[in-house]
């Protein structure tokens, strides 16, 4: 089983985590239906390093994992309070 480095709890078994989807910008109400549909139904899902939401369920800790979807390598993880989250870029 894969290990996930939780920024709060250190490396834990993947079965303790819940996936929250790619980090995306939610459209404002009143946005064009096509934009809303794209947000709700389409996933970016490219073989590259992607920012994802993950939750360590036993401690309810939501954080960001930058994961390479081609190799399943977890590049780094950090809490949303980390300045890295606001920066928004991938390494």
């Amino acid at each position: 089983m894969k290990l996930m480095p939780c920024p709060l709890n250190g490396p834990r078994n993947m079965s303790e985590f819940s996936y929250g989807g790619e980090v995306r910008v939610r459209p404002e109400p009143g946005a064009d239906p096509a934009v809303v549909a794209d947000y709700v139904f389409h996933k970016h899902n490219q073989p590259e390093v992607t920012r994802e939401w993950w939750c360590h369920v036993p401690t309810s800790t939501w954080f960001i994992a930058e994961r390479n979807l081609a190799t399943d390598e977890i590049v780094r993880t950090y809490l949303p309070s980390d300045p890295l989250f606001a920066e928004g870029g991938t390494p």
Binding site: M1, K2, P29, Y39, S60, W62, P80
Partner: protein, 961 residues
């Protein structure tokens, strides 16, 4: 003691003083303690173990190490037991598999006569056209081509799981693994050593010993076992290597899940058979199998032997056989020049004929056993010249080459590259933390193996954080041990290249000629390597043959992956003891004492009804609530505390309705959507303070709701604290016209007067001396109080309510009656009356959406959904009293012969004297009085009429008293 046994030191695993009797095919067989099923049978002259998969040919053991399906037997109810690995115990009931009428008189052997009508890809080519043919043939083929029987009467067994942790896991307890384990432990690492056999020592336990070789390995094993930082698991199989060094290790009825920081794979290599006509006859085995039979179990593998050699190790086999009293008739050496190794000289010195450049062209059988071979000169790759006269023998021992057991390394991400120097695959690109030691990594001679093991053990310890000097790599020395592709097609066929799947050489050649000439295509079309052992013994031969016939060099042929589980995990291992939580409310034992029938609700246990009979209990419990008072344990409800300056604003973003304007002391319904606009949960929010809401969620939904609240606030960063207090509080819903009197009688500091504490109010105070939160809500539509108290004091409150309610007709009420009560009021259960696509308008919950709100989770999608034409509507209905059958939940609404919707809830209401329910219908059918049709059990069509909800007390007067 059997006369067939060899004297000591042969038979290091058997106890000659203890005999064990078991049964094989109904016959009594006596072996020795320490025997495997196969070795005990061999000692009793029973060499045939099974009939083959397709042609029902007699088959016996080839590897004596669990590498081929030939040795699979049925033991009692247990299918697919490896007879060459399972130790005998008294009264084992062993049966051969894949026979009709027993092993000796198998009626299926006639299939062999039809073999020319069963070409490669037989199933795909013969039975898939026309499509219907497969339906006819599949059961016949499945019956013919079985391997064991799954018994529906198998008794339950106890299977459990263990979680183990190690700095370094070492797989394989041979000399390389032992050296690695010791080196890692001495460097300070906690080590787990996994060995699939009953004893440590690997090939040193059965191969011809070098001077002092056995003593050296035994001393090494003793040091490993005595080391305080080493844990040794024997008769344990590493079934798979998964991400981040997570190992599955089965041992008996236990599944060990192992997390290691680094892994040393020291799984060694096994011999590969030669392929010639008749090579599948019992009595034809690997040289190492003959050595195992002798040294481990003291079984003489035959009386007259021919040794087929491709390396010098074959001469050790010949010497071992001769010393065990087997007459070695001849050594046929594939090599044109056997060379000058002293072992070759020793064989010649015994007067044994050594035929250089010679193969076995054909083996001849009699009485289901090899009886003779014909030898022939090797003239080129896979070709031979003039075939000689039969040479009588009852044993053919093949030592022609090796295949490293690289399965775990490839699972761990290493690359396997064919090597033209050794004719054995080479391991490359080992990922960090994964190490190979010994022959699996190309290091073979005894002293170098120990050196390589020490290197790997230290490297693994260093990777695990125990700094130590790591020696440089040990040079591989695998050359000359493997004869390239010992596959000799015969004009008359029957040269088996995959025993599990009964494939002959021409099957592979034909498949390649048909265009299935990539190894992955060939594997799937021919099924080579897809048998129970995944072709461990023969994959290399199939790859080599494919390369030969397509004139490709090995690297271009590619290889196939041996996937976990390596030998097989039982369903029991996987299903075994689980760790699913089972949650009990604080009142569980009171329900049991009252004779409740319990039911599972998510992870919780809840009382379904009190007393054994469902129908009468539900009727009485519903009547109590409608006429007197009932008491429901609602402790499983999700409970969340939302506190902070932004609490109201937070709820407005999470839920669909308005909460900033909700007065303190008031309760309001909450409805949660996902971003597609679909309903995912509901409950109530009670404002106990301007900055504090007490929110309920559904029993099954609270964990998700809590997680989503955390998720959203991780982004919104509002000033709010969210706590899941589900387990901290118990809830008792006191419901019915007499509920006020009962709560009053228990004694409370809360003023229960209707004006002081109206419907949808929340109050804090004491009830029966217990601190409590009271909410005037209730699914059931009667005057009622939902009382939430600390879980530790729920029992005291329950007892006080029972006592106070005695004079008021109070009854405990279970989930089943609660469902009837809510349906009479037309309330929706999220997840039962809604599905993942239901939006509020469809479920007639549009009133719970704050229309002036600018945003909440799901609003953008909901706005779009509501602007579109509606496709369905959830309505209340009453069933036609004349209906022949009462439909069930999920029965379909039929309109003009097509599906127009479905019933989501239905019950017979004794209160109303009719059958009522909720159903999805098309929007134009939703009007009051519309009659629609439901298809019930057996296709019976019944009619129902749309009626307004609530069905009971439509003005809601009773709950607002």
């Amino acid at each position: 003691m059997s006369a067939a046994r060899l004297p000591a030191p042969f038979g290091r695993l058997v106890d000659r003083e203890r005999s064990v009797t078991f049964s094989f095919e109904g016959r009594r067989i006596t072996g020795l303690a320490g025997d495997t099923i196969a070795s005990a049978l061999a000692a009793n002259g029973q060499w045939m173990l099974s009939r083959s998969f397709k042609y029902h040919r007699p088959r016996g053991l080839v590897s004596a190490a669990g590498l081929e399906a030939n040795a699979l037997v049925q033991v009692g109810h247990e299918p697919n037991v490896a007879a060459d690995r399972r130790a005998i115990t008294p009264d084992l009931d062993v049966r051969a598999v894949n026979t009709f009428g027993g092993l000796d008189h198998d009626l299926g052997r006639a299939i062999g006569l039809l073999s020319r009508f069963m070409p490669v890809g037989f199933y795909y080519r013969t039975f898939y056209t026309p499509r219907a043919a497969w339906k006819v043939w599949e059961p016949v083929i499945r019956r013919l081509a079985g391997l064991g029987t799954i018994s529906p009467k198998a008794p339950h067994g106890y299977f459990d799981k263990a979680y183990l942790f190690a700095d370094v896991a070492v797989i394989g307890g041979g000399p390389a693994g032992l050296a690695a384990a010791l080196a890692a432990a001495e460097a300070g690492a906690e080590v787990l050593l996994v060995e699939d056999g009953p004893v440590l020592g690997g090939s040193a336990t059965f191969a011809r010993p070098e001077p002092n070789g056995v003593a050296a390995v035994e001393a090494l094993a003793a040091r490993v076992q005595a080391h305080p930082r080493v844990t040794v698991l024997t008769e344990a199989v590493c079934q798979g290597l998964f991400a981040d060094h997570w190992l599955s290790v089965t041992q008996g009825n236990r599944l060990n899940k192992v997390r290691a920081r680094s892994v040393v794979v020291a799984t060694g290599a096994h011999e590969s058979p030669a392929v010639f006509r008749g090579n599948d006859l019992p009595g034809i085995m690997l040289g190492s199998a003959a050595q195992r039979l002798m040294r481990l179990w003291a079984v003489r593998p035959g009386r007259e032997a021919v040794v087929l050699a491709g390396n010098d190790d074959a001469y050790e086999v010949a010497l071992d056989l001769a010393e065990a009293g087997v007459r070695v008739v001849a050594v046929a050496d594939l090599r044109a020049d056997p060379g000058s190794d002293p072992r070759v000289g020793a064989v010649r010195a015994r007067g044994i004929a050594v035929h250089a450049g010679t193969t076995v062209a054909e083996a001849l059988g009699q009485d289901n056993h090899v009886a003779a071979v014909r030898l022939a000169p090797v003239t080129g790759p896979g070709t031979f010249g003039a075939v000689g006269e039969p040479v009588a023998c009852d044993l053919v021992a093949m030592s022609v080459g090796y295949v490293p057991a690289t399965a775990l390394l490839t699972q761990g991400g290493a690359r396997i590259v064919p090597d033209d120097a050794t004719f054995m695959p080479r391991v490359e690109d080992l990922p960090a933390g994964l190490f190979a030691a010994g022959s699996v990594g190309g290091v073979w001679t005894a002293e170098r193996v120990v050196e390589d093991g020490t290197r790997a053990g230290r490297a693994a310890a260093a990777h695990a954080g125990h700094a130590c000097p790591v020696p440089g790599p040990v040079a591989p020395d695998g050359e000359g041990r493997t004869w390239p592709i010992p596959v000799f097609p015969h004009p008359k066929g029957k040269e088996f290249i995959d025993f599990d799947e009964d494939l002959q050489v021409h099957d592979i050649i034909d498949a390649a000629a048909m265009g299935w000439d990539h190894i992955q295509l060939l594997k799937r079309f021919s099924t080579a390597g897809m048998g129970p052992t995944q072709g461990k013994l023969t994959n290399a031969l199939v790859q080599g043959l494919l390369g030969r016939v397509t004139r490709q060099v090995a690297p271009r042929v590619g290889t196939v992956t041996i996937r976990p589980p390596i030998t097989g995990e039982k369903l029991g291992h996987l299903a075994g003891r689980g760790f699913e939580p089972r949650r009990l409310t604080a009142l569980h034992h009171r329900h049991e004492a009252l004779g409740a029938t319990m039911m599972v609700a998510g992870t919780w246990m809840r009382p379904a009804h009190y007393g054994p009979d469902l129908a009468s209990a539900v009727e009485a419990e519903v009547a109590a609530v409608r006429q007197a008072v009932g008491m429901i344990d609602v402790s499983t409800l999700g409970k969340l505390e939302i506190r902070g300056p932004d609490a109201a604003r937070f709820l407005e973003r999470i839920y669909t309705w308005k909460y900033e304007t909700l007065a303190v002391g008031r309760v309001r319904y909450v409805l949660m959507l996902d971003e597609t606009g679909g309903i995912i949960d509901d409950g109530v929010a009670a404002r106990v303070h301007a900055e504090h809401f007490y929110v309920t969620a559904t029993t099954g939904g609270v964990d998700r709701v809590y997680r989503l609240m955390q998720f959203f606030n991780a982004q919104w960063r509002m000033k709010v604290d969210i706590a899941n207090v589900t387990a901290a509080y118990a809830g008792i819903n006191v419901l019915g016209p007499a509920s006020r009197a009962v709560v009053q009688a228990v004694g409370t500091t809360v003023d229960l007067a209707p004006d002081a504490f109206p419907y949808l109010g929340v109050r804090e105070g004491e009830v029966g001396g217990v601190p409590a939160r009271l909410m005037r809500i209730g699914f059931g539509g009667e005057l009622g109080y939902e009382i939430h108290v600390p879980a530790s004091q729920a029992g005291a409150l329950w007892d006080a309510l029972i006592k106070a309610g005695a004079g008021h007709g109070l009854r405990p009420v279970g989930v089943e009656a609660q469902r009837v009560l809510r349906l009479e009021k037309g309330h929706v259960i999220v997840g039962q009356d809604t599905d993942s696509l239901t939006h509020p308008l469809e479920a007639s919950l549009g009133w719970a959406v704050g229309r002036k709100k600018t945003d909440f989770v799901g609003k953008p999608a909901l706005d779009i959904l509501e602007a579109r034409p509606q496709s369905r509507r959830l309505v209340g209905f009453a069933l036609d009293p004349a209906a022949a059958v009462i439909p069930k939940e999920n029965h379909l609404v039929i309109r003009d012969g097509r599906i127009a919707g479905r019933v989501t809830s239905i019950t017979r209401s004794s209160t109303l004297g009719k059958v009522i329910g909720l159903a999805y219908v098309e929007p134009d059918q939703a009007g009051e009085g519309t009659v629609f049709t439901v298809r019930a059990d057996g296709g019976t069509l019944v009619s129902a009429t749309v009626v307004p909800t609530p069905f009971y007390d439509p003005d809601n007067a009773r709950q607002e008293m």
